[in-house]
């Protein structure tokens, strides 16, 4: 296999609170190949956004990386200086935020915001700026006339697409997306996703896409990583995870959205709520909510086992992994 574009190994992120340290990201490892689409799925509070912030080096106190490495194109991002990072942002990797609808400056036109970014990275000819801005805007299906528009003149879906256009100004190799679709309704969500997928295939950048809705990534991602309580619960190819989810938590996520065809069946969702990371449950962190909990779960902490081509953190597979290993 080729050298991965992004390699995260054993990453740990702590939030330092007055009384306790909250470990929001706990020994997380994954890699992204050039041009790959990775979906990261989990509930609110599972550490998925913190993970993205850590990867993009956007954490601010009280959050800090307390261990592990983030290697992007051979550089250890954790050790890079702020100045070195500044040169890489937008150019080599870009981030589309969760509330992209609100992360545009309301006082500036779309075009002026694109211009800022381009100028910060050394593009100074007015003609070049105009041409590139118009080009990326049309990539996401917005008329170039909207360069003169202010954010409030665009609909939610258009603002979101304008943010993605901005992320593509320099055609970076990696675009990190933090729930860009969750504020949109279903039709806008699908059209945005198919746009992202289309651009990804045409321009060849890699995508790390975070969402709480597993169904969103089902049609688009190459691999899916499910996170629970700061840890990787399961990671596998998209087809594998949707056809045979191994972790009871992944199965719960799969069973959370109603189907549009076939018989109407009752949904269980996942009872309870995600744990408080300041006091994570003992043993397997999912055991208080798990429908398949065993006697050993509250006491034994499961490792990330390699079984059937997937990585899964569940004691159900401990024995199988032993035999295989």
């Amino acid at each position: 296999m080729a050298e991965p574009l992004l390699e995260v190994s054993d990453l740990m992120v702590d939030y330092l609170a007055d009384r306790a340290t909250v470990r929001a990201v706990n020994h997380v490892s994954f890699s992204v190949q050039p041009g790959e689409f990775l979906g990261i799925v989990g509930e609110s509070g599972c550490g998925k956004s913190t993970l993205l912030f850590a990867v993009a080096q956007l954490l601010s106190p009280p959050g800090e990386i307390s261990g592990g490495k983030v290697t992007f194109r051979g550089n250890d991002m954790v050790r890079l200086s702020a100045d070195a990072l500044r040169h890489m942002r937008w150019r080599d990797y870009s981030v589309v935020m969760q509330s992209a609808m609100n992360s545009l400056n309301p006082m500036k036109s779309i075009g002026a915001q694109f211009k800022d970014t381009l100028q910060a990275h050394g593009k100074s000819s007015a003609q070049e700026i105009r041409a590139r801005s118009a080009e990326v805007l049309s990539l996401v299906g917005i008329d170039a006339a909207h360069l003169q528009s202010y954010p409030h003149q665009l609909s939610g879906g258009m603002r979101q697409r304008a943010m993605i256009a901005m992320a593509l100004l320099f055609t970076p190799q990696l675009v990190i997306m933090d729930e860009p679709t969750s504020a949109l309704d279903v039709v806008a969500q699908q059209s945005l996703m198919s746009k992202v997928k289309d651009l990804q295939q045409r321009l060849g950048f890699a995508v790390v896409f975070v969402t709480h809705d597993m169904s969103v990534v089902s049609r688009y991602s190459d691999r899916v990583m499910v996170m629970y309580a700061g840890q990787v619960a399961e990671a596998a190819g998209t087809d594998a995870i949707f056809e045979r989810p191994l972790h009871p938590y992944s199965r719960g996520l799969m069973d959370s959205f109603p189907s549009i065809r076939g018989p109407r069946r009752s949904l269980s969702g996942i009872p309870g709520s995600p744990p408080n990371l300041a006091r994570p449950p003992s043993g397997c962190r999912f055991h208080p909510r798990c429908p398949e909990v065993m006697a050993t779960c509250p006491t034994t902490e499961p490792e990330l086992y390699n079984v059937r081509g997937a990585r899964v953190r569940c004691l159900l597979y401990a024995e199988e992994a032993d035999h295989a290993g």
Partner: protein
């Protein structure tokens, strides 16, 4: 328009709440501006007792305006709303309004901003009990607060909590408990699950279904997610740009949608349990309906549009057991088939 009510809109008397020709326009710009935004136009709706009706549409389709009209946040530009056959227009006194608000309660979209952060979550429930059920004494109120909390799946201890101590799903349940405290006959739920994690949504939807069974309330469930509408609703009403485009029994409409817009909504549902060859490449959005001319408002996005669509506004007409507002579907129901139009558009 009572004549075209057909099978899907309940006749007078049977319905708990009934709206006819409901219309709401908003003036854009200054006081002397003549530009009018048509948020809702000639909309008919009926909700029977113990019925869950889903109102489905994209952002900007006018579905929240309908909820606000029914909750009397806005008054209609035209048209009439009847609750238990009393015209809302005739309710003027404070006593009448209190009665109506005791019968029809509302639950809001955003559980993170719907509660006052300085009060415990019991505050809203208690206040509703004091206002709407003055016959209860202190002790009874406390008992009743516990009962409504338990009926939405929260423990009685939760009453002491502050909003920030609760998760989004729990807060949304508090919203329903607050609504239940007035013992309503109808709950208007405006996108109650869209801000929640997917894993939490199923629980709230199940709770809504339980409330109908146990408390006997009707629910108007407003959503953009047609799959969740299928999960809880008996009937669906699909709205587009202020118009009703299709309505009927949930299974009839969803298994065999006749309006091209309903088909678009269905094709946008991502379901990993089935593989789809292609999906709708539609990137359009509902138009802002400012001083509209005649014609179907969906025609710019519609793969089936014919000349007539630009000339005559389609009105909901019966087609089998449902109502559809589409010239093409009414003239030739077979032409508008399941998502075929959307798929062929993708290829071109």
């Amino acid at each position: 328009m009572a004549g075209q009510a057909g099978n899907s809109v309940a006749p007078a008397g049977e319905a708990l709440l009934r709206a006819t020709n409901l219309t709401r326009h908003f003036r854009l710009g200054g006081m002397f501006s003549k530009r009018m935004l048509h948020a809702v136009d000639d909309f008919d709706l009926a909700i029977k007792e113990r019925e869950i009706v889903a109102l489905v549409g994209e952002s900007g389709s006018g579905k929240s305006t309908v909820a606000r009209l029914l909750a009397r946040v806005y008054s209609p530009t035209r048209g009439e709303i009847y609750f238990r056959d009393r015209a809302l227009k005739s309710l003027r006194s404070r006593k009448d309004m209190l009665w109506y608000r005791g019968e029809v309660a509302m639950v809001f979209q955003d559980p993170y901003s719907a509660f006052n952060p300085v009060f415990r979550v019991s505050h809203g429930v208690m206040r509703n009990l004091v206002l709407h059920r003055p016959e209860l004494d202190r002790h009874q109120r406390r008992e009743e607060a516990k009962r409504v909390f338990e009926s939405v799946g929260l423990s009685a201890e939760m009453l002491k909590k502050f909003p920030h101590e609760m998760s989004g799903g729990e807060r949304q349940r508090v919203g329903f408990a607050q609504a239940l405290a007035v013992r309503p006959k109808l709950i208007l739920a405006d996108e109650p699950v869209s801000m929640l994690d997917v894993s939490i949504r199923a629980g709230v939807l199940n709770m809504m279904a339980n409330l109908r069974e146990q408390e006997g309330v009707s629910i108007l469930y407003i959503t953009h997610d047609i799959a969740s509408a299928r999960y809880v609703a008996d009937r669906v009403v699909v709205m587009y740009a202020g118009h009703l485009v299709e309505t009927g029994a949930t299974e009839d409409v969803l298994q065999e949608p006749k309006h091209p817009y309903t088909q678009l909504l269905l094709s946008a549902v991502a379901d990993p349990r089935e593989k789809l060859a292609s999906i709708a490449a539609d990137s359009g959005e509902p138009p802002k309906v400012i001083d509209p001319s005649e014609g179907c408002r969906f025609r710019w996005r519609c793969p089936y549009a014919i000349e007539k669509c630009a000339e005559v506004t389609p009105r909901p007409e019966p087609l089998g057991s449902r109502l559809v507002a589409c010239h093409v579907a009414i003239a030739d129901p077979e032409r508008v088939t399941n998502s075929a139009g959307w798929t062929s558009m993708t290829k071109s």
